[in-house]
Amino acid sequence: MSKIPLIGRSASLAFRTPEGVSFSYPLAGPVSRFLALSIDLICIAGITVILNMALGAFRIATPDIVGAVLMIGYFLVSIGYGIVLEWLWRGQTIGKRILRLRVMDIQGLRLEPSQIAIRNLLRFIDSLPVFYLVGGVSCLISRNCQRIGDLAANTVVVRMPLISEPDLDRIMPGKFNSLRQYPHLATRLRQKASPAEASIALRALMRREELFPEARIELFAMVADHFRPLVRFPEEATRGLSDEQYVTNIADILFRVDKATSK
């Protein structure tokens, strides 16, 4: 396992598996963690209010017992909220779930219940003297953005961006591609285009819906202008093609091997 030693928000935690595969997790910064904590504190307050209302009806009959139950209930909720949820939801509380954060073992292994308990119990020290100052400072100065509880429990908090299965049909719908009429030029394009250039074309297509119309036209014009000199396709193959369609066809050649030509 190796780490990228950056401080705070921009750091990530990298792993190399025995199979020789590398992957990394982006580390959560103190701000996003504080926001998640704020949501959790609201949830704890909400649970306490609900408990109070639920037992309120019995308060007249048995005020002593209800008072005791409330006192113990609040204590258990405030201590146990993080422990129970992080155990049941594999390192997530409601706040962390909403902000797509997750607690994980620093070696990428499964979280142990004892690790969860220790990092949550050590909140006592991280919250000193006010507003998690000790924990916040620790996050800022530690290599992996860890508060004291994380250091003691060997845990880190990582960001888990929503990653869904790629859908190439959505961006390259398999329509007629006039450039494929020239298989020798298509093959030359594959040879000449570097992975980085191919990636630019594909990423432009994947993110085109996020762009303003003017920016979209400008971007595809730039990308098309970059690819045109790489391999000159005959004019009849590119006539009437917009820059965006041209880039779509280029990406189609680069990322989708034609069955007929590949055999």
Partner: protein
């Protein structure tokens, strides 16, 4: 250098979906156990996704698929490579009569040290009050302890009505939660290289020593023992166990004479720390009940001999439990 991404995704999608299904099932059930066939299939899917990731990393610049596969492999990695032994079902009896006393004995040196620090505080508090009775106002943390012991004894022995009627349960809850918070704080302050834990133990010792000396000097030794022993025989050891846990934590952070890295040292003690603090919480629940329902009642309601006897029996049982429970059933002295 670019692979047929479309064909690659089409071929592998089925396996990725199956792996994703496995992972979702595992992530939604903390206690899930796979049978051998499932485990083999899971391992195969993980290996296949890893291989796909390696191919993509070398032969394609396509980042979305790369990120997706990376997240799948990362999630599966922690399941495949986790080798630490852990219980899959809660077993409270086995924990209480095996794990807990064994964890206590495994760190007995830290216990003796915690006991020594608290005893030093006790001596210091007692001596301070004996030499300077005026220090009582500074040493006593609670208002009701600042008055005259003899007046208190006379008042409470005279009481004809139950002065705690209607607030006993709340009192028990207050004792439990307050003492548990103090214990957790004592343990977690071990993160300050053990200094915070030592201060907490010493401070609690001072208070206890001052209270004891105050009642002894007033000639109320019998009252003192019968008042403190029923709950103190459990509560005071519990605070010392919390100190023991704090010193274990501090020792792991300092790591003197230990060739392991701090990460390895913390990993080695984390389960024992949680076990010890769990035991402390359990003891304090019992102590809270005894303190609210028995300790605060004196003669003629409850005889001093009964209270002293109860406290002594509890202390002996606790010592026997910690010394002998769980021997020969599992890990010892680790």
């Amino acid at each position: 250098m670019i692979i047929d991404l479309h064909g690659f995704i089409r071929e592998e999608r089925f396996y990725w979906n199956e792996l994703e299904g496995f992972l979702q099932k595992m992530e939604s059930d903390a206690l899930l156990r796979m049978d051998l066939a499932e485990a083999r299939r899971f391992n195969y899917l993980y290996q296949r996704a890893s291989s796909g990731l390696a191919r993509l990393a070398h032969f394609s610049a396509e980042r979305e698929t790369h990120r997706y596969l990376q997240s799948l492999v990362a999630r599966a990695y922690c399941e495949i490579h986790e080798t630490r032994q852990r219980p899959h079902r809660l077993a409270p009896l086995s924990w209480m009569f095996g794990t807990l006393p064994r964890a206590f004995r495994a760190h007995i040196a830290a216990f003796w040290l915690a006991l020594a620090v608290m005893s030093a505080g006790l001596l210091f508090g007692g001596m301070s009050l004996a030499l300077d009775p005026g220090a009582k106002q500074v040493l006593m943390p609670f208002e009701h302890l600042k008055g005259s012991p003899s007046e208190r004894v006379a008042r409470e022995e005279r009481a004809e009505e139950d002065r705690l009627k209607g607030i006993k349960s709340r009192g028990a809850a207050m004792y439990m939660t307050h003492n548990t918070k103090v214990s957790i704080l004592t343990m977690v302050l071990g993160a300050s290289w053990g200094i915070g834990t030592v201060i907490m133990l010493f401070y609690n010792g001072i208070i206890l020593g001052a209270v004891c000396m105050d009642y002894m000097l007033a000639g109320e030794g019998t009252f003192l023992i019968s008042w403190l022993l029923p709950h103190g025989s459990v509560e005071i050891p519990a605070i010392i166990f919390a100190g023991q846990a704090g010193l274990v934590l501090g020792g792991a952070i300092i790591g003197k004479g230990n060739s392991q890295t701090m990460r390895e040292r913390m990993r080695a003690i984390s389960a024992d720390l949680v076990t010890l603090i769990g035991g402390v919480a359990l003891l304090l629940v019992w102590a809270g009940i005894i303190e609210a329902f028995i300790s605060q009642y004196h003669e003629p309601v409850l005889s001093y001999s009964f209270k002293t006897g109860l406290g002594s029996i509890q202390l002996v049982l606790l010592i026997l439990f910690l010394a002998f429970a769980g021997r020969g059933k599992g890990r010892e002295g680790a």
